[in-house]
């Protein structure tokens, strides 16, 4: 058919100049905000008047890092999905997904201040301190008990020895003139007593075994929750998981992006086959990594609470909003004069449909999580929603999450025409990203006040005054740095995989 585009005409690809000045402006703005953030953080530390605010800034930084982590991790997900399903439509946007995903390692670096053993870590994840306290208490109690045990044993040995001595004397006396049967009986009785004494003497209380047992018993008594979760929630396992997750996610996107870039240069179809196969194997790795990351970073903000839908809830938001981010990125690139011929309204329509699908998916998961907990009404599960139905947060949830995050974009995206108009679709995408801001904010920030002011009793605060501005400052800081690395990755190679075997299909896609 006439008018079809030929992939050979596009084999040279399109090179992006890397954003030029904008890239450096973003980096400077981001670094400037980050420096300001940590100056404030250090300045407010160590004073009693600003202690809560100081610790509250840890939540600000976590919020900012998680927000952009979801976007980047979503980029990894779309790359994986695209390769694993052997999709043809989106070859021309796949490089944007890869570039977005490749920012993940830098975000792990930005997360280091939180991970480093110190005030930030302990302010966010109370279980570190709670575990330390519980263990300390358990060890003291165990030592005390062990001392008592030793004392007891000593007493037992002494009384057993006395008894043995008495029996020995009796035996000496009775043996005179005893019949052979009586002699055998008396000797056996003496031997039995001797064995009892030796057994008591052989009891080893210096060994760690009994101490460990006693400590566990005390640990369980002091904090049953942390004791039951001790195999998962201990610093060693936590740091191990952090290292493994950051390596896994980085490795996945690095491998796929490297092959994709190599296929640009050589056009060898073997890379495309490798990517497809590897992506299928990487998907479970990705799913496990992301699930455990959000368990460790977000669910553990309150270690007594749990939700089995937590991983998929955060995943739904990540996939939705990285698609929104990709739509905006694509439109900005086209505004700047790139990808004009390669991308058609059909691609917008397809991406808009995915945006709609994940808007519904997010709502489905978010509602199911709420619904199951609300209906079952079990104390240890409802805690999360109780905190978030208190004071300001109730309005926030209804206004931003129920109406803003679901009903408005759902209604707008149902319109076919809206999905084919970049300006309108971008409007929806910007709105969705703002709603994601509210979603992540609602996940992390309500923990801050109650966690940091619990010890004040009646003076407990749900909102820490002033910390809202540090939340914004942290967001700006991470946004700038994130933007810099996205632009840098975009400038590294052609904006679309220019020699992929399915480029023809993608250029001429109709739906």
């Amino acid at each position: 058919m006439a008018g079809l585009k030929n992939a050979d005409d596009y084999a040279k690809g399109e090179k992006f100049d890397g954003g030029g000045l904008l890239k450096w402006v973003l980096l400077m703005a981001g670094l400037g905000a980050a420096v300001l953030f940590f100056v404030i953080y250090l300045a407010t530390g160590g004073k009693e008047s600003s202690e809560v605010f100081h610790k509250g800034m840890a939540y600000s930084w976590l919020f900012a890092v998680v927000y952009f982590m979801t976007l980047a991790v979503g980029g990894i997900f779309w790359t994986l999905l695209h390769n694993a399903t052997n999709s043809g439509w989106g070859i021309v946007v796949r490089r944007l997904m890869e570039n977005l995903g490749s920012v993940v390692p830098f975000l792990f670096v930005l997360a280091l201040p939180l991970i480093f053993p110190g005030t930030m870590r302990n302010a966010l994840w109370e279980w570190f301190d709670a575990r330390k306290d519980a263990l300390h208490h358990a060890e003291e109690a165990a030592n005390h008990e062990l001392e008592e045990h030793r004392h007891h044993l000593q007493e037992n040995i002494e009384s057993a020895e006395k008894r043995f001595a008495a029996i020995e004397a009796d035996t000496q006396r009775d043996l005179n003139g005893a019949t052979p049967g009586e002699t055998a009986f008396l000797n056996r009785r003496l031997e039995d007593e001797r064995a009892k004494v030796e057994k008591l003497k052989a009891t080893d209380l210096s060994d760690g075994a009994l101490f460990g047992e006693l400590r566990d018993k005390e640990f369980k008594h002091t904090n049953t929750n942390l004791f039951k979760k001790r195999g998962y929630m201990n610093p060693g396992a936590w740091y191990f998981r952090f290292v493994m997750i950051s390596l896994a996610l980085t490795g996945v996107i690095f491998t796929l992006r490297t092959w994709s870039l190599k296929s640009d240069a050589s056009g060898d179809p073997k890379y495309f086959r490798w990517m497809r196969r590897a992506a299928c194997g990487f998907l479970p790795v990705f799913a496990a990594s992301w699930t455990f990351l959000v368990f460790d970073w977000l669910m553990a903000l309150d270690y007594t609470w749990f939700s089995t839908m937590w991983g998929v809830y955060l995943f739904a938001g990540a996939a939705l909003n990285s698609m929104a981010f990709l739509i905006i990125l694509l439109t900005l690139l086209r505004r700047a004069g790139y990808l004009k011929e390669v991308i058609t309204m059909e691609h917008y329509h397809l991406m808009g449909k995915l945006l709609l699908a994940f808007t519904v998916f997010w709502a489905y998961i978010a509602f199911s999580q709420f619904f199951l907990i609300w209906y079952a009404n079990i104390t240890e599960e409802t805690k999360f929603y109780l905190t978030r139905n208190t004071a300001y947060w109730n309005t926030h949830a209804i206004l931003f999450l129920v109406i803003g995050h679901f009903f408005l974009p759902f209604g707008a995206l149902l319109m076919q025409g809206f999905k084919k108009k970049p300006t309108i679709l971008c409007g929806v995408a910007v709105w969705t990203l703002f709603m994601h801001f509210c979603d992540i904010y609602w996940i992390i920030i309500p923990e801050r006040g109650p966690s940091l002011t619990r010890h004040l009793g009646d003076g407990i605060q749900y909102i820490v005054p002033g910390n809202f501005w540090t939340d914004l400052l942290a967001w700006v800081a991470v946004a700038g740095i994130f933007g810099f690395f996205v632009l840098r990755a975009l400038g590294n190679a052609s904006l679309f995989p220019c020699r992929d075997p399915r480029l023809d299909e993608s250029l001429n896609v109709l739906n």
């Binding site: 058919m1 006439a2 509602f367 709420f370 619904f371 609300w374 209906y375 009404n377 149902l414 076919q416 109709l510």
Partner: protein, 185 residues
């Protein structure tokens, strides 16, 4: 006898066969540009972009489905709200019986939205297509029956105001038809 019977027959449509999907696509563009309205194409498999080549407008079906979905949503809400909140307030685990009971209603609202949308799609489609019907004049054509095997068929009906026995045949032939049949019914 047969001559008189034949004389009552009127031209029903032109059935034209094309060599390939590509030929049919371009022929469709020509027929579209000539301003025909009562015509259709039949292919063994879906041809991407054919709706565009035929100049088809967006279908009304989506509006019917939206209507069905909203009806289902409201039916479920009204049913649950009036029975469980107004007529006979049902207290479960001390949960409120007012508008905030709505999370408990959601599963039913969700299901009925889907059920009514599906019904609207099915019955709406049948109405839009004027189905079911017992027979269709096109089934008389040998040429037409090839569409379910290897034929790329274009049909222009005689009720189209632009239909002219001679001119329309010329149009189809100039568009590259392999064979053209005037179907009478």
């Amino acid at each position: 006898m047969s001559a008189t019977a034949n004389s009552t027959k009127q031209p029903y449509a032109y059935v034209a066969e094309f060599e390939s999907a590509s030929d049919l696509y371009h022929a469709a563009e020509k027929v579209r540009d000539a301003g025909f309205r009562k015509w259709d194409v039949h292919t063994p498999y879906p041809v991407h972009g054919m709706d565009h080549a035929m100049g088809m407008k967006k279908s009304w079906l989506s509006a019917i489905v939206l209507g069905g979905g909203l009806t289902g949503f409201l039916t479920a809400f009204v049913l649950e709200f009036f029975t469980q909140v107004k007529l006979y307030p049902t207290v479960v685990q001390n949960k409120p019986t007012n508008l905030f009971t709505v999370p408990a209603f959601f599963p039913v609202m969700f299901e009925l939205t889907i059920l009514f949308s599906a019904f609207a799609t099915l019955f709406g489609l049948l109405i839009v297509l004027l189905l079911p019907r017992w027979n269709h004049p096109l089934f008389e054509s040998e040429l037409f029956s090839k569409f379910s095997d290897d034929g790329f068929i274009l049909v222009i009906e005689s009720r189209d105001p632009k239909f002219r026995v001679e001119k329309t045949r010329e149009l189809l032939e100039s568009a590259g038809a392999k064979s053209v049949e005037l179907l009478e019914a």
